[in-house]
């Protein structure tokens, strides 16, 4: 039977690329901060250079994300009202309160990485204080979309898991990529012994990244399953998002951001490290870039796709 429904509301998307960039940069910054704190905690200042890279990336990325999301707000300078009005049911309240605090803390933490002091107890303690704060801000980023019941594409459990895993993968990727660039600029990539040591040192990080990417892929599959075989509104939301953002999501988010990095990582492991150090370095650089590219476009696709107008279901 032919049914036509007309319902004119203010058209979206209400949140645009600036919010997607906040989710991406903020997430990567949180990942970078946790990376620095955990590496410092575990190896007691052994990997100073990469920790320094990660520590400096954190405030830069979190700050850029916060700035972008404030640019999207109608009255950004009223954000301080989050401090005087308590609403813990709103993930945005958590973000408004804790993200600026994290930004300041991460900046101080980065400053403490100046100089060549391998161990610094004050720095380590600040890192321990910042880690739970980073997890709170990470949870805010992860839950920002998923708590919105009106948007079936977002309102799922796998959305939160995917976002949290995304922080880890993009955080590691951005640190690896920037650190490689720093090594190249300092001429350390020409030093075979240095490269060998770097690859050896980073084995645990690369393995973690590989596992996180696999988990992310599995989470996306679960997410797709829950929507594709879910209630009518879930299916409509998936179809609407696919129509406008499908290629961006599948090709850039999944293939470039996950499948190719996993394949390249597996290939590099298969070829072995000792005789293919140049290849290993290339793979790390390329996969990091692809993870970052995919990480951004995945978030953009989900953000915009989730705001598509759905058919009005009159469920009287």
């Amino acid at each position: 039977m032919n049914t036509e429904i007309i319902y004119e509301i203010q058209s979206g998307p209400y949140w645009d690329w600036r919010v997607a960039l906040d989710l991406f940069l903020g997430g990567a910054g949180i990942g970078a901060l946790l990376f620095a704190v955990l590496l410092d905690e575990r190896f007691k200042g052994k990997y100073q250079r990469i920790c320094r890279t990660a520590a400096w990336l954190a405030p830069l990325l979190v700050g850029a994300g916060l700035l972008l999301v404030m640019l999207k707000m109608g009255r950004p300078f009223h954000l301080f009202l989050a401090y005087t009005n308590f609403n813990p049911t709103s993930p945005l309240w958590w973000g408004g309160v804790f993200q600026p605090l994290l930004l300041v803390g991460a900046f101080v933490y980065a400053l403490m990485w100046r100089g060549d002091q391998a161990q610094d107890s004050a720095r380590t303690w600040l890192g321990r204080l910042l880690a739970p704060l980073a997890v709170i801000v990470g949870a805010y980023h992860g839950m920002l979309l998923s708590v919105i019941v009106a948007r079936p594409l977002w309102n799922t459990g796998p959305t939160v898991v995917a976002a949290m895993l995304g922080f880890v993968s993009t955080g590691i990727a951005v640190v690896m990529l920037v650190h490689l660039i720093r090594m190249k600029m300092a001429g350390r990539l020409a030093d075979e012994a240095h490269v060998a040591q770097f690859l050896d040192n980073m084995r645990v990080v690369r393995n973690t990244l590989f596992v996180v990417l696999l988990l992310q892929l599995g989470t996306f599959f679960l997410w797709w399953l829950s929507l594709n075989f879910g209630a009518l509104q879930d299916q409509q939301a998936l179809a609407a998002a696919n129509e406008i953002c499908g290629p961006m999501f599948w090709w850039l988010g999944i293939v470039v951001g996950l499948v190719l990095p996993i394949a390249l990582g597996a290939f590099a492991v298969w070829r072995g490290e000792a005789s293919y150090r140049r290849l290993q370095i290339g793979v790390i650089g390329l996969t990091s870039f692809m993870i970052l590219l995919g990480g951004f476009f995945f978030r953009l696709a989900v953000l915009v796709g989730g705001q598509q107008d759905l058919p009005v279901n009159i469920t009287f």
Binding site: M1, N2, T3, E4, I5, I6, Y7, E8, I9, Q10, Y14, W15, K72, M73, G74, R75, P76, H78, L79, L81, A82, N85, F86, N87, T89, S90, P91, L92, W93, G95, G96, V147, I148, V149, A150, R151, A231, Q233, Q307, V312, N313, I314, T315, F316
Partner: protein
């Protein structure tokens, strides 16, 4: 439970689809042309001669479990003692989380200066007989020729750029003991307004007679705009 729970019962059998409610709302609340605090869904179904037409008035549902309130980071969107869902424009940071969270599409956001372009006709429609828009604005001392100053008694008469806005159930009229403008304007008596917690109220009596429905019950928001006698 709130002391009062203001509620609107809409009798779909009585509604004639004239949209007088929409127009009354705009006039009463200085609503910009592109927004519709009072809105409607039109549904046509079937092929002639077996057809069905539905006109379903919509507005803020003033949900008991309002997702806009839960998602507002500054408590700008809040519940009142009367069960209304209200927006404090002073606290609104323009994040649009309420708009995203609302399953009914009844919250609007002033992305630009509201009421733009302002009517600025310099010439009277009938020279020497009717006034120009500028003259009306000057004489009335209002920012718009169609401005209702009573709206400014509880919220900004015109909501500024960068904040959201939505139906308030004409709280400024309720404060004086009047009913919302849409209720007053309805020629068919299709809008039944009152306190749902009062067993003698008109909406409670209507619900005692007819089983109500709500929009999107699966969202679990407990709307306080209820529909009866769908056909």
């Amino acid at each position: 439970m709130a002391k009062k729970q203001y509620s609107m019962v809409i009798d779909l059998h009585a509604c004639v689809g004239c949209t007088a409610c929409d127009i009354a709302c705009k006039r009463e609340n200085n609503v910009p042309a592109e927004f519709a605090w009072s809105n409607h869904i039109i549904q046509t179904e079937g092929t002639f001669p077996d057809v069905k037409y539905r006109h379903i008035p919509t507005m803020c549902n003033h949900c008991t479990d309002a997702p806009c309130v839960a998602n507002c980071p500054t408590t700008a969107m809040h519940k009142t003692e009367d069960g209304l869902t209200m927006l404090d424009a002073e606290k609104c940071i323009g994040c649009r989380a309420c708009q995203l969270a609302c399953p009914y599409g009844v919250i609007y956001f002033n992305e630009h200066e509201p009421h733009q372009p302002l009517p600025t006709d310099k010439e009277a429609v009938i020279p020497g007989c009717t006034a120009t828009i500028e003259e009306v604005r000057e004489k009335t001392g209002t920012p718009l020729p169609y401005y209702n100053p009573a709206r400014a008694e509880t919220i900004p008469g015109i909501r500024p750029k960068g904040v959201a806005e939505k139906c308030t159930l004409c709280d400024h009229r309720l404060a004086k003991g009047d009913v919302p403008a849409c209720v007053e304007a309805c020629p068919a008596g299709a809008r039944i307004f009152g306190d749902l917690n009062d067993p003698q109220s008109a909406p409670r009596k209507a619900l005692n007679k007819h089983a109500p429905s709500v929009l999107r019950p699966e969202k679990g928001t407990q709307p306080n705009v209820l529909y009866i006698r769908d056909f």
